[in-house]
């Protein structure tokens, strides 16, 4: 077994827990209508953002998608300002102009997120190109879902990245659903990792619910990119424990998930956080007392962040048209 430091493993666990608790903290306010922005919760997919971002160094860039709360938090974005953004407050990370789907933390090189499916893949291609032009050795990560494999720009981007040997990781989070559409109704096969191979791109498929496996493949991939052996394509197999959008399902707040119950319960057993907890306990990294205290402190942090968000003012109506152009 590989040796990891206790602090490192605990930090991975803590990051996943922060994402999960934040996501779950939105459920009630969504149902109550206190949060109206379309939230695509990341519950169940935490290991991917956590494992990848644990490898990145300060200058590396990431771009997210519609389901990017986890990417933002794993990259070190402030929890308080993210929650404020989701409440539409002026203290939000995008000053109340972006909402859930446009989180950004440029100070941490989380360069933004956008819900146009596959729309940010080419943006990450651009930050990788910038790195190559300036010879900065920084790596870009593009997070997208299995649904994005239906968009042409992905293949244009794979071709150009391979052609120019750009330091970019194409991180495909395959949760088997493109909004309401099961993958078998969207693709003739399920082997997403193979789509990059005709471009000569090194491709991997790993269990996206195993944070250490994610970390290892990300580490290898980042090293390849830094050594000018990019790009890399990784397919992470995962599952969203909640619906496409909102608290439970496609229509915000209705709680009528269309996916088979048996499928959901199968994946609930593969919950990445529970899985990692078992590993930590089995290997005597953390005991139940430490786990409980971690839970308590993260829960407290999330509560405080909600308090901050709720107490924050909304943007002023008179400032509606600020930020259309940079003066």
């Amino acid at each position: 077994m590989k040796k990891y430091s206790k602090d490192f493993l605990e930090s991975l666990y803590r990051t996943m827990l922060r994402i999960r608790f934040v996501e779950e903290s939105f459920v009630e306010p969504i149902i109550k209508g206190e949060i109206k922005t379309a939230c695509h919760l990341y519950s169940g997919e935490e290991a991917i953002a956590t494992g990848i971002c644990a490898v990145l160094t300060k200058n590396d860039c990431i771009f997210g998608n519609h389901r990017s709360h986890g990417h933002y938090l794993a990259r070190g974005g402030s929890m308080k300002t993210m929650i404020a953004e989701i409440y539409g407050k002026s203290t939000g990370c995008s000053r109340g102009r972006g909402g859930s789907m446009h989180l950004c933390a440029p100070e941490n090189n989380m360069l933004g997120a956008a819900p146009i499916v596959a729309g940010t893949i080419s943006l990450a291609l651009g930050s990788a190109l910038a790195s190559k032009i300036k010879n900065e050795k920084k790596v870009s990560v593009s997070f997208f879902g299995d649904g994005a494999t239906g968009e042409g720009v992905l293949y244009e981007s794979l071709n150009f990245a391979a052609l120019k040997k750009l330091p970019i990781i194409f991180a495909c989070e395959n949760n088997f659903y493109s909004t309401h559409m099961p993958i078998k109704e969207c693709r003739p096969n399920n082997d997403i990792y193979k789509i990059a191979q005709p471009f000569g791109i090194k491709s991997f498929r790993v269990d996206g619910n195993d944070v250490l496996k994610v970390y290892e493949v990300a580490k290898k991939s980042v090293e390849m990119c830094r050594d000018s052996n990019g790009p890399v394509f990784i397919e992470f197999l995962t599952y969203r424990l909640r619906g496409h959008v909102g608290a439970d399902d496609n229509i915000q707040g209705t709680r009528t998930d269309i996916r088979p119950k048996s499928e959901i319960s199968k994946w609930q057993k593969k919950d990445p956080i529970k899985k990692f907890e078992k590993y930590l306990i089995k290997n005597k990294i953390l005991d139940t007392i430490r786990l409980t205290s971690l839970h308590k402190s993260v829960r407290k942090e999330v509560e405080k962040a909600h308090e901050f968000a709720k107490a924050s003012p909304y943007p002023k109506e008179s400032e509606l048209t600020n930020y259309v152009f940079k003066e």
Binding site: C61, F63, G92, C93, S94, R95, G96, R97, G98, H102, C104, P106, L111, G112, A114, I116, G119, T120, I121, S122, L123, A124, L125, G126, S127, L129, A130, S131, K132, I133, K134, G152, V153, E156, S157, N159, F160, L163, N322, Y323, V324, F325, K326
Partner: protein, 327 residues
Amino acid sequence: MSSKNRKLSYSLAINEALHQMMAKDKSVFLIGQGVKSPWYVGNTARGLLEKFGSQRIIDTPVSENAITGAAVGSAISGMRPVVVHPRMDFMLYAMDPIINQAANWYYMCGGKMSVPVVIWGIINRGGEQAAQHSQAFHGLFAHIPGLKVVMPSTPYDAKGLMISAIKDDNPVVFIDDRWLYAVEDYVPEEIYSVPIGKGIVRRKGKDVTLAAVSFMANESIKAAEELEKEGIDVEVIDLRSVKPIDRNLLLKSVKKTGKLVVADVGWKSFGFSAEVSALVCESGYLKLPVIRVALPDCPAPASRTLEKEYYPDYKKIVAAVKKILRK
């Protein structure tokens, strides 16, 4: 200091702007189809590859969506790219990165990240090339909040506006016209800016205001010269920027003349001529109805007889001015 009579063609004025800005600022680069071809983009890219190398002069596969997205993404991460579309018609493949991403980015992130990209589209019409090798889309792009749109008609403005576009912190759509490439005029040798959003009075007059842009600005000057022979005194305004539009200059002139003819290189409905007419109507200065000289609401034809009918010239402008004066 430059000689007061140094003349340069419109296309080489753009070329000089690119040479000087790339030499001055290492974050500027040129990307797009045909930038290393001796003919694809006229001679606007002459000598750039030899001087700046293939790291910064990047000829690309035909992948407008990904390449424009890469330019946008590189701008988000600190570069100042110029992405060229040798035929604007192909630029429609890149509507997502231009409109959804570049135009909205600064607003969506609450002013935290700007997108200093120049999106350069070349109108390349005539020659029986038909509907998909002819279109001018300035009205379409000018409709979008967050985009600036410039359309120089002279070599002086072509250089000065390209420099301003590169220096601007916002996405600028720079639209030129191959029909203008051979026009020669005075161009200073040094770096200078033509301010975006500022039009210019090309010819002072008191009877009618003739507002135009791009190729039609030159046709308007020709028309004014013809009309002068008949004792009609036309004020010609070249708006130079479609967005932001120089409202003050326009209204100052119409306040004086009370009459307006608009001449555009685009279609009549919902475009530049419609917007100019509307904002002048809103001012209350008009004494007579507006007349618009624009393309008919019809795709560009191939056959020479139809083409001749399709593209308006100075004669149509002369007729419009006479009609307004009931002469």
